[in-house]
């Protein structure tokens, strides 16, 4: 969080720089079957974020040391393409993408019925093609749709949204400027059917009331996004 209080990001009418009200989510489009060689895939455009996710498997888990005798493992690779940001990213491993891969795996392993596929591996590849803010949320949400597209049994799809605070106003679904100069960021991974959580991070500064507001924004937004996810999957099945 930059915490630059002097950058004005909410106008006198209470609107944000991109014209949204504090509780509004950016426009989202979801498409399935975009990686024809994969078992399941999803492209999610969320604001100017774009993520493409492919799911392969369940398949033989190798190297064998990663195998679990009683269930499958999920191998998540989150990666930002070199051309996805304003300044080019050098290809290769970095600590940020490692961490995001790990928390995404932890979230997905909480919903996939892993015990149905002992000793196997499900590979989830998340490629961020264009980044604005909240790529981990877009990646995790798109991964849920891709897993569903691959026909992998899950208790629920994960919907991930981040809310935060700019100029002392709590706002939903932070954009790039709000993420860079805002005062807080609270990404959550929500199961829309039960309201349970499988992913939670936060950094910044929120009062108890602000925290409650950001939490509620995330839950409401997740319900909206979930409808789009279901629509996209139904559309794919009818094609």
């Amino acid at each position: 969080m930059g915490g630059y209080g002097d950058v004005q990001m909410i106008d006198e009418n209470g609107l944000r720089m991109d014209g949204r009200k504090p509780g509004d989510v950016r426009p989202i489009t979801i498409e399935t079957g975009v990686v024809p060689v994969a078992d399941g895939s999803c492209r999610m455009v969320w604001g100017t974020n774009e993520a493409i996710v492919a799911v392969y498997g369940p398949m033989e888990a190798h190297p064998r040391k990663i195998q679990k005798q009683d269930r499958a493992v999920i191998d998540v690779a989150y990666n930002m393409a070199p051309f996805s940001t304003t300044d080019r990213i050098r290809p290769g491993f970095n600590r940020r993408s490692r961490e995001i891969s790990k928390v995404t795996k932890d979230a997905l392993e909480s919903v996939v019925l892993l015990e149905l596929y002992p000793r196997s591996k499900i590979r989830v590849s998340i490629e961020i093609i264009s980044a604005e803010a909240g790529t981990r949320c877009v990646g995790l949400t798109a991964a849920s749709v891709a897993l569903a597209d691959a026909g992998i049994p899950m208790t629920d799809m994960v919907v991930s949204v981040a809310s935060g605070k700019v100029n002392d106003v709590v706002v939903c679904d932070l954009n790039k400027e709000e993420d860079n100069y805002g005062e807080a960021d609270l990404p959550m991974g929500i199961l829309p059917n039960t309201g349970e959580l499988v992913f939670l991070q936060m950094d910044g500064d929120l009062s108890p009331d602000e925290f409650k507001q950001a939490w509620d924004y995330n839950v409401d937004a997740a319900m909206q996004v979930h409808k789009l996810m279901v629509e996209a999957l139904k559309g794919g099945a009818n094609q």
């Binding site: 060689v37 690779a77 070199p82 264009s130």
Partner: protein
């Protein structure tokens, strides 16, 4: 890339097909898959393209950086071509450091573009000895159903030709289109069932032998050649595919602005 297991059944089947002048997906020996080329599709890149060839999909993005010219070439900028085939592109591609296959891909595409001289590196110099542009072409595979080489080469040159130098962002003048004077095009041929076919699918690559990549510039000048994988070919075979490459490159050149 994990070492794929090649079923003998697949090899035998491909041989049988070749004997009847047929291919797995019903194409003719030198018939390519349908190609779709779109440019300007990546909002954060200064130039971009997406190529769809059947089920093969690739992206190319161009970014610019400021560099200090090399001491022995103070009046020149640079061109860098980098290729990544990540696990998203197919179950046979695995995570980890770049595989020899993906390095070969990037280098062969790079040579075709570089050696055609389509980018004048002298033109990329801003202040001799101090400041120059480095053009970085990143090739990114989304779905690999064979012949990533041709898809990358086409996406690469199309992305470069759509690129705008972001001079205003770096405060070194006004934005202007990157000058790309030529259109080098690659055509790739795989030995499948004992004969060369154009634009092999992944199954044909899997059950095939050696491959040959030819990059031709405007006026059919040859800019790069590469023979890959184990296999032997004759001068006559090469002459045949070269004849086809000339025709096909001219057709593909029409797709690019």
């Amino acid at each position: 890339m994990s070492e794929p297991i090649v079923p003998n059944l697949l090899r035998d089947h491909l041989s049988d097909l070749a004997m009847n002048d047929a291919r797995l997906d019903g194409r003719g020996q030198y018939e390519g898959r349908e190609i779709k080329l779109e440019t300007g599709i990546l909002p954060r890149a200064e130039g971009s393209a997406r190529v769809t060839m059947g089920n093969t999909i690739v992206l190319a993005g161009v970014k610019f950086q400021l560099m200090t010219p090399y001491p022995d070439r103070p009046n020149q900028g640079g061109l860098m071509c980098s290729c990544e085939v990540r696990p998203i592109a197919g179950r046979h591609w695995e995570a980890g450091p770049p595989s020899p296959e993906s390095i070969e891909l990037g280098r062969v595409v790079d040579r075709g573009i570089r050696e055609s001289g389509c980018i004048d590196v002298d033109d990329l110099c801003i202040i001799p000895g101090e400041k120059a542009w480095q053009v970085i072409l990143d090739l990114h595979a989304i779905s690999d159903d064979g012949n990533l080489f041709d898809a990358f080469a086409l996406a690469g040159i199309a992305a470069l030709r759509s690129a705008i130098i972001p001079a205003e962002k770096f405060e070194v003048g006004e934005d202007s289109p990157l000058k790309v004077s030529k259109k080098p095009i690659m055509c790739s041929y795989h030995k499948v069932g004992g004969r060369f076919v154009y634009d092999a699918s992944y199954k044909e690559e899997l059950g095939g032998d050696e491959r040959i990549h030819i990059t031709l510039g405007d006026d059919d000048h040859v800019h790069s050649l590469q023979k890959g994988l184990k296999g032997i070919f004759t001068a006559d075979e090469f002459a045949d595919i070269m004849e086809h490459a000339k025709k096909r490159c001219a057709e593909l050149r029409e797709l690019i602005n």
